[in-house]
């Protein structure tokens, strides 16, 4: 066994290259905000441009094929880039990139060229438009429609809780093509440019900030070429997306700033002359926080290892996602227990703890149990994959396991 990811000479050299680029390109006082949802226009525009430059080098999506605008590199390169970006607190691309594997698996050659290239090069951003008011956990219950009209599809309905900090260039998601069709075989998966006449975006005001949208579709026309997969295969195309979203890929690198900040707080804080860590209940909360974060790192490491060694993953992605959603909430409670009222002071206060990031976690870690499937949905998937549910299912095809379905 060997739990350490060992960098090759080639990786070390690539790291130098990446570090030089970021050091030269981004001044050290340029970084993402403590609360990603409070990103200001200037910072957004600045990093949007950085992303374009990264995209031009293939660094935005390093492992995607070069011919479609990716880096054609290995997962190792991706890891190096992620580490260097995290080191400098440079925000990741502002897209929800979960469509990318679906395009790669299900797209025609023409679609791959047309849609992947601007996304992978960072010229465009995309948002995932899945949930509807009456179709959250039960995504198959969506009712927004796409009706064929000549060479076009005409889209009507709405999507909400759409994560996106500004406005996208492209939206993607399933729409019902056959209202009377069988469940899971009655929808198509559409790629919808923005702006397009009939699409309106409204920002939602939620506990975790203004980063989510309500999107209305009123007779929106897209050409037939914007349908990904067959017009009854939308569910299957979405499944490829969701497989990624549910954590199927793992990570060799799981930064753990939340816990590091808390441990530093415990180490450095005195109250009335006494280090708060002398109280074993403080230590217990801090250590439980640490342990649960370490377990998450190990589950992610396992998933990464299984993914790159092409082992058959069953419950593993959903398990890690479930653990993350739940331990982050527990850890936010532990943090508030240790920090007391200070955990609620945000970054605009005079002297917030750790720049106000604990306050962000108090709101965000609860809100973030929802996107990409609630804990209940993760449990449902795990039960299916363990074979103890009424429904049995196998993992959906991903770029790691499938050759293109249409190519």
């Amino acid at each position: 066994m060997d739990f350490e990811y060992v960098y090759s000479a080639e990786q070390d050299s690539f790291r130098r290259e990446a570090r030089e680029f970021f050091d030269a390109r981004v001044p050290t006082d340029r970084r993402g905000p403590v609360d990603p949802e409070s990103l200001d226009d200037d910072t957004f525009a600045y990093f949007r441009e950085v992303h374009r430059e990264m995209g031009a080098r293939g660094w935005l999506y390093p492992t995607y094929p070069k011919e479609y605008g990716g880096g054609g590199m290995t997962a190792d390169h991706e890891m190096v880039i992620e580490e260097e970006m995290a080191r400098r607190q440079i925000p990741k691309h502002f897209s929800n990139g979960l469509v990318l594997p679906s395009i790669l698996v299900w797209g025609t050659e023409e679609q791959k060229k047309r849609f992947l290239i601007p996304l992978l090069t960072g010229e465009e951003t995309c948002y995932q438009t899945f949930s509807e008011a009456h179709a959250g956990s039960d995504l198959a219950a969506i009712s927004s429609t796409a009706v064929r009209d000549g060479d076009d599809w005409v889209i009507n309905g709405h999507k909400l809780f759409i994560t996106g900090i500004r406005e996208p260039d492209l939206m993607y998601g399933p729409f019902v093509t056959q209202p009377d069709g069988a469940r899971h075989h009655n929808m198509g998966y559409f790629l919808i440019p923005y702006p397009t006449p009939g699409v309106t975006l409204t920002r939602m005001t939620l506990m975790n900030g203004p980063g989510q949208l309500f999107i209305n579709f009123d007779n929106v026309r897209v050409p037939a070429g914007n349908l990904l997969g067959g017009d009854d295969e939308g569910w299957q195309v979405a499944a490829t997306t969701l497989e990624q979203e549910h954590g199927g890929r793992g990570a060799a690198f799981s930064p753990d700033e939340d816990t590091q900040e808390l441990l530093a707080y415990v180490r450095d804080t005195k109250r009335n002359g006494v280090a708060i860590g002398v109280d074993p209940t403080v230590r217990l909360n801090a250590v439980d926080n640490y342990i649960e974060s370490q377990i998450h790192r190990l589950l992610e490491t396992r998933n990464f290892w299984m993914y790159v060694t092409k082992r058959e993953m069953t419950y593993h992605g959903a398990q890690s996602a479930l653990w993350r959603k739940e331990f982050k909430v527990r850890n936010a409670i532990r943090e508030a227990t240790i920090m007391g009222p200070y955990a609620l002071l945000d970054h605009t206060d005079d002297a917030p703890v750790a720049g106000g990031s604990p306050e962000v976690r108090q709101r965000r870690n609860v809100a973030w149990t929802h996107p990409g499937g609630t804990p209940e949905i993760m449990r449902l998937i795990i039960a299916r994959r363990l074979g103890i549910s009424r429904t049995r299912e196998r993992a959906a095809p991903t770029p790691s396991t499938a050759t293109s379905h249409t190519g």
């Binding site: 956990s137 039960d138 109250r271 002071l345 945000d346 206060d349 005079d350 917030p352 209940e376």
Partner: protein, 321 residues
């Protein structure tokens, strides 16, 4: 044994619910919470007109001398709609004056509190916070019946909009941390006082209050405030639990209702055991808060020796849920 609210309490609670349904709709809660001060003078006036600010004040001082359980039944109703108001601070002020002040001061202050002629905020917590007497370290120097004090109090509810501040300061050092603490009263606009609202907090507005050689009036006997402060906190904290009970029960009721109507996978989500278990957790929380809270109120009303223990338990149960 009788675990029902009595007629007075049922009437108080039903009147409170009617008032709150009319005057504090969800939109208005949101608007007040998001306003610059987090405070609505108009709503506070209406609450005062109902006499709620006088419930904790004995009749001889112009209040209605209600029991804590009476107050609890009102706070429960307020919690149901998350009613934003400084009532808890005002009630705490009443309990502090009753617990600490001289008879003359009672006669002066309690009618003002009861009629809500002035609003009172209470400043105890400090930057290196803690919940015992030892955590009160801000210094004051006694000068006759006044104190000159400097230092910082944190997380003080409604300090930005209050008329007066009741402040706990250390004016001496005794054998135990409980000794040497003095309660003082000062106008919020007095010289040497600076108030800044904390940012990011959700819920009631809380402030940092800085004192620089501010002069304030001593309440009660200098250096001997703690026992009265502790008793006042015990009483007030259970009313906060009653408020949290209302909120918990309202969230439970909403969840039950939603679980019956929200459909997923072709059935109401309440039919899923995972959803049921979330609701059962909330049900157990709500009932645990309800009975620990009302038992504590009853014990305090009865003056039982284990009232403070019951009060702490109710607060722990309401906070952890």
């Amino acid at each position: 044994m009788d675990l029902a609210l009595n007629e007075t309490q049922l009437m108080l609670q039903s009147m409170a619910r009617e008032f709150l349904a009319n005057e504090v709709p969800k939109t208005s809660v949101r608007a007040i919470d998001e306003s610059a001060t987090g405070f609505s003078a108009e709503l506070w006036r209406k609450i005062a007109d109902l006499g709620w600010s006088g419930m904790a004040v004995p009749e001889e001082y112009g209040g209605t001398g209600n029991s804590l359980t009476d107050l609890g039944s009102v706070f429960e109703a307020m919690g149901e709609v998350a009613c934003p108001s400084p009532l808890l601070a005002q009630v705490l002020a009443a309990h502090l004056v009753l617990g600490v002040a001289t008879l003359d001061q009672r006669a002066t202050l309690l009618p003002v509190i009861a009629m809500a002629e002035r609003l009172f905020a209470v400043a105890i917590t400090e930057p290196e916070y803690g919940w015992g007497a030892g955590a009160v370290q801000m210094r004051g120097v006694i000068d006759g019946d006044q104190v000159t004090m400097s230092g910082t109090k944190m997380f003080v509810p409604y300090a930005e909009v209050t008329d007066d501040l009741l402040v706990l300061v250390r004016t001496g050092d005794g054998a135990t941390p409980e000794q040497g603490l003095t309660l003082v009263k000062v106008e919020r606009d007095a010289a040497g006082i600076d108030v800044r609202r904390h940012q990011g907090w959700f819920g009631e507005p809380v402030c940092q209050v800085t004192f620089a050689d501010a002069r304030a009036d001593v309440i009660g006997v200098p250096g001997e405030a703690w026992p009265g402060v502790e008793a006042a906190l015990d009483k007030t904290v259970v009313l906060l639990s009653a408020f949290m009970l209302g909120g918990t029960q309202a969230a439970l009721d909403m969840s039950v209702e939603y679980s019956k109507t929200r459909m997923a996978f072709g059935q109401p989500i309440g039919t899923f055991q995972r959803v049921q278990d979330l609701i059962i957790k909330a049900l157990n929380d709500a009932d645990a808060i309800r009975w620990t809270t009302y038992e504590a109120l009853w014990k305090l009303d009865e003056g039982r020796e284990d009232g403070p223990l019951a009060a702490s338990m109710a607060k722990a149960v309401a906070s952890e849920g």
